[in-house]
């Protein structure tokens, strides 16, 4: 009998509303003091293709998903048996294999399926007449004949049925369902609650569910806890940082962030512009940045590929932004639009021609996303360069509990600015100073946008400020911002622009650069980055319980890269393995490039699915045993 540690899964065709019931279930658990980690797998398709949503619930912190589920709600045949029947190359074989010992399968009795098909005797099957239940609910309000229109309520029926199984208080869920339907839609809410209730009772009455091994009990009422998705956290961080404009072009998995912000336009006075493409998004953003407002955009790989000239533009003209959240997805090219991959690190590090400065950071979870996105606006303005925040499909879409979301570094820092009237001339070196006829520059009596200053930063101005006038160009330029091809000036300007990376490296707090989790004297050091953080931490907990000593070096700030610190840790490590959700081990490559420490042992997963806790545990156990090989999911 396993209490309060449960994974519930619902599967069905895209468009069948599995998201709704999964998220209702998650919320109902979270509100009741349980911790939740929910994630969805779906196709790049609008309707019909197989998708499924997993909700893992526990009374301790859950930061990853499990291979196996305890309860499966199947809305269609494919969820049970896979797509081998209608695809020449089967992509999966159904989720029956994904159930834990003695798990329960709730499925639509209208589906052509007999438990005998499953080669498992241990499973408990609960065929439920989904449509009949919907009809019944409709009859009560005299709408029986409209059943077809309400077919989408099947997912609610599935939810209601499963609540009976895990023996969870129905009212908690009812409240959440009702909450989803505001105003004049509240009637539909009542209908759904009713359907769920009927399903709940149907199961209790028609099946012997006593002693079903997986159950849930509400915990103590939580305090500031919230249940959020990654793209919401990134969006809220942008609002909090004072972002004035977000430009975007729709692309999964980045669109959600922009759509969320679009909904806040009225209340927060933030402008969201849907552009004709990503070239337009990035260039509008750069134009806005030069006007002195904080500006951001968001995209994923294919869109980023169109933004690279704009990144170079921003960096060359020292624009104070934009902040770009890059939601990685399965590549290359169009690749796997709705699937997970950490495949864009090396691209994001060298995204355009020439040597130029930009900052790249990769938060590992939602709290870090909140902090790094917020800080990125300060960095962009302080160092006058574009900042890329690497996120991914997993971070964007996971729906998980967070205890009190706070910023450790919450000050707004807009960097050195030309302040008009009360401007005090900065001391600015001319590259030809000292040269006989070098028209040396000395102290800048007047304001020069691209002055070569002692601080290494040219205080910025913006159109509209008296006396702050300047020119700018993507060609190499002089302090006025006019084109130059002179050797000394070229060298001085390159040094100024590139020098800003060292300034940033000094100023960015160490705990935003990297972290070493776990025991210092470990037998194995796992090196990883980004969204695998939670999974690795969960795995380390399990491994620690087994008495193995493994620690985890999390790389977070990718550029400027804390090479010395990382190298030091790695040199001290007994053994090192890099674990990444990409084919080549891009972080390992980057670390070698920066430190010369070449991590040969690389465990990669490139099947478009994130590591499960179990896969991570196995992978690390293997690494400890000297077995290093790619990991392939078996839950599709």
């Amino acid at each position: 009998m396993q209490k309060n540690r449960l994974t519930w899964m619902i599967g069905g065709p895209q468009g069948s509303g599995i998201n709704a019931s999964a998220e209702v279930f998650a919320k109902a658990c979270s509100r009741a003091g349980l911790r939740v980690y929910a994630n969805i797998e779906y196709h790049s398709n609008i309707m019909g293709k197989h998708s499924f949503y997993r909700v893992r619930v526990g009374d301790e912190d859950v930061r990853s998903y499990r291979d196996k589920t305890d309860i499966l709600v199947a809305l269609d045949h494919e969820t049970l048996a896979g797509d081998g029947d209608h695809r020449r190359w089967a992509t999966h074989f159904g989720h029956l294999q994904d159930l834990n010992e003695g798990g329960g399968v709730i499925y639509d009795s209208e589906v052509e399926f007999s438990p005998s098909e499953a080669q498992r005797k241990d499973l408990r099957f609960y065929p439920v007449p989904f449509m009949d239940i919907i009809k019944k609910a409709l009859e009560e309000v005299g709408k029986a004949e409209q059943a077809r229109r309400y077919e989408v309520m099947k997912n609610t029926v599935g939810l209601g049925a499963s609540l009976a199984l895990c023996d969870y208080p129905f009212e908690l869920v009812a409240e959440v369902i009702q909450g989803q339907f505001k105003g004049k839609r509240s009637e539909i809410g009542q209908l759904n609650v009713r359907a769920a209730k009927l399903a709940f009772e149907h199961v209790k009455q028609n099946f012997d569910i006593e002693g079903f091994p997986y159950t849930l009990k509400p915990g103590p009422e939580p305090k500031a806890r919230i249940l959020a998705k990654g793209y919401e956290i990134a969006a809220i961080a942008k609002l909090k940082a004072g972002c004035a404009i977000q430009t975007y072009y729709p692309i999964s998995p980045a669109t959600d962030e922009s759509v969320f912000l679009e909904r806040q336009q009225r209340d927060y006075g933030l402008l969201v512009v849907q552009c004709e493409d990503e070239i337009s998004s990035i260039n509008m953003a750069v134009g806005a940045a030069h006007m002195g407002v904080r500006v951001a955009t968001a995209t994923s790989g294919p869109g980023f590929a169109l933004m690279v000239e704009g990144i170079g533009f921003a960096s060359m003209t020292e624009a104070p932004g934009p902040v770009l959240v890059l939601y990685q997805r399965g590549g290359p090219s169009t690749g796997l639009p709705t699937r997970q991959e950490q495949g864009d690190l090396l691209f994001a590090l060298h995204p355009a021609q020439g040597d130029f400065s930009h900052i790249v950071t990769a938060p590992g979870d939602l709290r870090e996303t909140y902090q790094d996105v917020f800080s990125s606006f300060n960095w962009a303005e302080r160092y006058q360069l574009p900042v890329i925040v690497l996120s991914d499909k997993k971070l964007a879409a996971i729906y998980t509990t967070i205890d009190k979301l706070e910023l450790k570094y919450d000050e707004i820092d807009r960097g050195e600015r030309f302040t008009g009237s009360e401007w005090t001339p900065v001391s600015a070196k001319g590259p030809n100073d000292g040269h006989a006829d070098g028209n040396g520059h000395g102290d800048a009596k007047e304001y020069l946008r691209y002055a070569l200053t002692e601080t290494g930063i040219s205080p910025r101005s913006r159109p509209g400020i008296d006396g702050g006038r300047f020119w700018s160009t993507t060609d190499e330029h002089d302090p006025d911002g006019h084109i130059t091809e002179g050797v000394e000036m070229r060298v001085a300007m390159v040094r100024k622009r590139m020098g800003k990376l060292a300034l940033a490296a000094k100023a960015i707090p160490e705990d935003q650069q990297y972290a070493l989790h776990g025991p210092v004297d470990a037998d194995l050091t796992v090196v990883a980055w980004g969204s695998t953080k939670g999974t690795i931490l969960d795995a380390l907990q399990i491994l620690a319980a087994e008495g193995t000593k493994v620690n985890f070096l999390q790389c977070r700030l990718m550029r400027p890269f804390p090479a010395e610190k990382i190298a030091e840790i790695l040199r001290k490590a007994k053994r090192v393995v890099a674990i990444e959700e990409n084919y080549s081990g891009q972080l390992a490559t980057h670390i070698a490039a920066e430190t010369g420490f070449l991590i040969k042992d690389r465990i990669n997963k490139f099947d478009g699915r994130p590591f499960s806790e179990d896969e991570m545990v196995r992978a690390i156990r293997n690494a400890l045993a000297g077995k290093v090989e790619a990991v392939v999911t078996n839950v599709h």
Binding site: R266, G269, S280, A289, V293, R462, G464, T474
Partner: protein, 309 residues
């Protein structure tokens, strides 16, 4: 105190070829700014890449010399961030109608309030005289190894289809007239396109000063005429009258195909709500001040977090 052309000239040494039509356009811009007495600190010129792209460096105002073909998105972003600024976007015909064609079209759909000047010299000047998108099929300048194999585009017709609300054509070697048109374009509320016929003495030996002046024609009559002088009125007088709009658009398109002589002046003009007008409806605070002047740092995001309980 009154501002004169000189106040709009930067001190930078100019490096266009002697006799380049760009000088005329530059003067036209400066005359227009003087005519409207605009404060140089409240004007920003954005340009693409090309000989024409260097223009902002010669104008005493904020200057942004951006990327090849991207001037419109950059200028749009600039304008939306700071609506207190008069925004002038400009660039070459290759920059705007070739590599920038997608932005030319999509920008027309927005009707952001700015002016876009295209230096139409029929060649890619800065890359040594290849055919630009405005060179007609079969034509060949001295700088080309072969005749143009593609059709030239019709910028006026394109602009009409794309939705620009002020569409005009000027001639670089008539700076005063060009200045008048530019001034009107700047005053127009919405996206204004001014296609400026520009000579390139270095590479374009087809459409030269002499050619435009008709030096080779029997009566040496100019190959240009001013629309208003032949009673053409491109202005939509009742913007709520869909029929008038379509009629004026069709008329503008028809005129845009006239080649000998070529009409200059205003082909089409209509007063419609701008993108900025629409934004004010969504973001009331924009009525008080532009985003650049807004304090965006005191937001309370707690309501959003509360909703995630």
């Amino acid at each position: 105190m009154k501002l004169t052309i000189k106040d709009y000239k930067s001190e930078l040494h100019n490096d266009w070829c002697p006799g380049c039509g760009d000088f005329g356009i530059l003067t036209g811009i400066q005359m227009a700014l003087a005519k409207l007495q605009l404060d140089p600190d409240k004007v920003a010129c954005f340009s693409g890449i090309g000989c024409s792209g260097k223009t902002p460096h010669y104008v005493n105002a904020y200057g942004f010399h951006t990327l090849h073909g991207r001037v419109l998105p950059v200028a749009t972003g600039g304008r939306l961030a700071n609506t207190d600024i008069t925004v002038i976007a400009l660039g070459g015909d290759g920059d705007g109608y070739g590599i920038g064609a997608g932005y030319f079209v999509n920008t027309g759909r927005r009707n952001v309030d700015f002016t876009y000047l295209v230096h139409n010299n029929n060649v890619y000047g800065l890359t040594k005289g290849q055919a630009s998108p405005t060179l007609a099929k079969g034509k060949r300048t001295k700088s080309m190894p072969e005749q143009a194999i593609q059709d030239g585009i019709n910028p006026i017709a394109m602009a009409v289809a794309a939705g620009y609300t002020f569409i005009a054509r000027a001639y670089a070697l008539e700076p005063k007239y060009t200045a008048d048109i530019i001034a009107r374009a700047i005053q127009h509320k919405g996206s204004a396109l001014v296609d400026v016929l520009q000579t390139c003495p270095t590479y374009n030996d087809l459409y030269t000063k002499e050619w435009y002046e008709g030096a080779d024609l029997p009566e040496k009559t100019s190959r240009l005429y001013k629309l208003e002088e032949r009673g053409y009125d491109g202005k939509v007088h009742d913007a709520t009258d869909a029929e008038e709009i379509v009629a004026k658009k069709a008329a503008a398109v028809a005129r845009s195909y006239e080649r000998e002589p070529i009409p200059i002046g205003v082909y089409y003009e209509v007063e419609l709500p701008t993108y900025e007008d629409e934004l004010v409806k969504r973001i009331p605070s924009l009525k008080e001040h532009s985003l650049a002047e807004t304090d965006t740092f005191k937001r309370d995001v707690n309501p959003l977090l509360e909703a995630m309980r």
